[in-house]
């Protein structure tokens, strides 16, 4: 049985039906799915994360977030869109020291490209 957080909002629908759905309804379903996903998030995508030293954790976030932001830029998309309140709250729940880690991440060479103020703005917004 599917858990609540992993419930598929498009269960039983063909792709054609999904594309015919009113956009507002589609957006609402996606928003709900995202909230469920992040509220139920149990890991940060690296099984060894818990064993990392503070320095390794800073490096982990520097590398992974920088990589994803570059992907966005390559595609002409908003690089800060990967940050929002749902994601931030989930990460903070799993890594209570996340804010101080990000303070260090923004001092790292890979992050000279990115704007901390914009990041701080985005993590306050539920998109």
């Amino acid at each position: 049985m599917q858990s609540e957080e992993n419930k598929n909002p498009f269960q039983g629908m063909s792709f054609e039906e999904i594309t015919r759905m009113p956009n507002e309804e589609f957006v609402k379903k996606m928003e709900l799915a995202k909230q469920n996903y992040f509220s139920g998030l149990k890991d940060l995508g690296d099984p060894e994360y818990g064993e990392y030293s503070p320095e390794q954790k800073i490096g982990f976030w520097e590398v992974s977030l920088n990589r994803q932001m570059r992907r966005q830029v390559e595609s002409g998309l908003d690089e800060y869109a990967i940050f929002n309140a749902d994601w931030y709250n989930a990460v903070k729940r799993l890594e209570p020291e996340f804010d101080s880690i990000m303070d260090q991440v923004f001092k790292r060479p890979a992050f000279t490209e990115w704007d901390k103020q914009e990041y701080l703005k985005r993590i306050r917004i539920r998109s």
Binding site: N23, V27, R71
Partner: protein
């Protein structure tokens, strides 16, 4: 050699006839106005209240990617203070009550004026008064040979050979004074006044007058222009092609503050309430581009100045917090207005003195050093506000390089490609100096030289530098943007060719699938997915990087809503030349896959939502 000269002579002959013909075809005998833009050319639709965004904080326009005065806009509020120039001799300077709208630069000397405006930013040593003088003289049809030595030197810097030819007897130069007078009687009174003023400018020049003030007194009428269209007030917004809005606040005729508002079309916040999805066709969001130098501020009052804008200006922006931001525009290479390429931030602040650019050893490609060296964050030269206390320069570390050493190390062809792209030699040298010394712990030049010596795949030094350069933040943003927009091919072709050549030489990645995640704005997501139904083809003009495993691609669980599972055909593992692998701390996990530009992908099944990862999964197969 003789053959080349003959060809050149024939070309000149053809050009001469062509120019005359163009003049005739364009009806120049009926309209002698070199720049014809008028209020009639402006979109006068009332689109936003004059008070709209009055309380907003505007970011400096210079934070956006730009080249040669063309800005790639993004949603938000921006501002720039430009050097502006009078395009209409014999009219009043702007006053505080004049309403200005935007109109395109038009007329027979449009290209010449635009070249002057664009290139004036590349040569900040040329005074604004000289640029203005040159514009007036071009509008007054003064022959190039009649220009003073100083203005001839400025012209050579600001104009191409073809444009100089046109000034040297081309078009208006071959039309006699009696002909011009004949034209005048056919013109409306306002245009006759302008022609009179242009004639006076020309007479002054022919009399040998050199005082700028005398020309200004002819070109700029004293007092405020009579208000003949009071409904157009100062601060009026006007809509531009591409769906963004601008308004002008001239300060005299020499300086104009421009505010730009770009609505977030992609998130669905359009005025009409509909969603703009067409840009997604190319797997990207295309924001509008705006060419500052092709925009004329036209007054509602018919006897006030038309104004054109130089390619760069001071940054503008009214937010205190923005100026406090250590990454504010001055740190991005725009302080002196030199060059309009947004120079990416250097890897780390450094405290090293400016090092003179070393000349290239004989035999190398000669690359003009057109601009002064870029000031970088932390630069401790006396006028740098980032370091008012002039912190002492730390001792260099073993392996540190200066710009002279960088010049020796960088291959000429790579330097040439970067200069063609829009960077200056000084910017490139400074960037790689800091990249080696700070970001890459003094190891960059050693690592890449080691690779070039031993590489088993036959990459030449240019290929290797181009790939490594791509993986840094030096040019990947603008390069991909221009490739997607299919613009500035002259600037992108060398770099693109080097990268694509390198990728062609590298062995194809052995993994069948590579993975790439993105977040598409939720309001546009459904329409985006519809572009990837089974069997559809999509061309990705930009270079595409991807990870070798799905899990490595989503470490940190960033909020991406689409994952492409790509059955790749030409993906190459560039880990051996990747910034993140060699200079990251800790290093990225290889492989780093890069797929060539302009690749075609076919969807192999309809997109499907996977709730366990909260992403739409799109399966595509690379065709070429």
């Amino acid at each position: 050699m003789k053959r080349n000269r003959l060809i050149f002579f024939l070309c000149v002959l053809v050009s001469c006839n062509t120019v005359r013909n163009v003049a005739e075809v364009a009806g120049i005998s009926e309209s002698p106005s070199a720049i014809s833009t008028s209020f009639a050319d402006a979109d006068k639709a009332f689109v936003l209240n004059d008070t709209f965004a009055n309380s907003k904080s505007f970011r400096p326009l210079s934070v956006l990617p730009s080249a040669s005065g063309v800005y790639q806009l993004r949603p938000g509020f921006y501002e720039i203070v430009c050097k502006s120039y009078c395009l209409h001799a014999g009219t009043h300077a702007p006053s505080s009550g004049d309403g200005y709208l935007a109109a395109p630069l038009k007329g027979d000397r449009r290209d010449i004026i635009q070249s002057i405006l664009k290139n004036s930013a590349r040569y900040p040593a040329i005074k604004q008064q000289d640029v203005q003088m040159l514009i007036w003289l071009v509008l007054a049809h003064v022959n190039f040979k009649q220009l003073s030595t100083d203005l001839q030197i400025a012209s050579v810097q600001l104009l191409s050979a073809k444009e100089l030819f046109e000034l040297d007897g081309g078009v208006m130069g071959v039309i006699s004074d009696p002909t011009l007078m004949g034209m005048k009687v056919k013109l409306p009174p306002a245009a006759q006044d302008a022609l009179d003023a242009e004639n006076k400018v020309r007479e002054l020049y022919e009399q040998g007058v050199t005082s700028y003030q005398q020309y200004e007194s002819v070109a700029i009428l004293p007092g405020a222009a009579p208000v003949d269209q009071p409904e157009y007030k100062r601060g009026r917004w006007c809509v531009q092609p591409g769906g963004f809005y601008i308004r002008f606040f001239p300060n005299g005729y020499t300086s104009t503050r421009i505010q730009i508002y770009v609505p977030d079309l992609v998130s669905g916040a359009t005025n009409s309430g509909s969603y703009d999805v067409s840009p997604l066709k190319h797997f990207m969001i295309q924001w509008p581009a705006w060419d500052l130098t092709s925009t004329v501020a036209v007054p509602a009052n018919t006897t006030a100045q038309r104004l054109c804008m130089g390619a760069t200006g001071s940054s503008g922006g009214s937010s205190e917090s923005w100026w406090d931001d250590p990454r504010s525009s001055d740190d991005w290479g725009h302080r002196d207005g030199a060059g309009s390429f947004r120079f990416p931030p250097t890897p780390n602040p450094v405290h090293a003195p400016q090092v003179p650019v070393s000349p290239k050893p004989a035999g190398g490609v000669k690359i003009p050093d057109q601009n002064p060296p870029v000031k970088t964050p932390g630069d401790n030269t006396p006028d740098n506000p980032d370091n008012p206390g002039n912190t002492p320069t730390p001792s260099p570390k073993p392996g540190d390089v200066d710009t002279g050493e960088v010049r020796k190390q960088l291959p000429d062809c790579f330097m040439k490609a970067l200069v063609s792209f829009g960077l200056t030699q000084g910017q490139v040298l400074e960037w790689f100096k800091q990249y080696n010394n700070d970001r890459c712990s003094q190891q960059f030049f050693k690592l890449i030289q080691d690779y070039i010596k031993t590489n088993p795949h036959g990459l030449d030094d240019c290929n290797a530098y181009a790939i490594w350069g791509y993986t840094t933040n030096l040019f990947f943003r603008l390069l991909n943007q221009w490739l997607r927009d299919d613009i500035n091919q002259d600037q992108t072709k060398d770099l693109t060719q080097e990268i694509d050549q390198a990728l062609a030489k590298l062995p194809t990645y052995t993994g069948k699938y590579v993975y790439r995640g993105i977040i598409v704005p939720p309001a546009s997501l459904k329409n985006f997915l519809a572009l990837y139904t089974t069997g559809t083809f999509n061309v990705w003009n930009n270079f595409t990087s991807a990870g070798g495993t799905e899990s490595a691609s989503f470490a940190g669980r960033p909020d991406v809503n689409v994952v492409f599972i790509i059955e790749q055909k030409t993906g190459k593992d560039v880990s051996a030349l990747a910034d993140g692998i060699h200079c990251g701390m800790p290093p990225n996990t290889p492989p780093e896959i890069l797929i060539k530009s302009n690749s075609t992908f076919q969807s192999t099944e309809d997109p499907v939502f996977d709730p366990s990862i909260n992403k739409w999964v799109i399966h595509v197969k690379q065709i070429d």
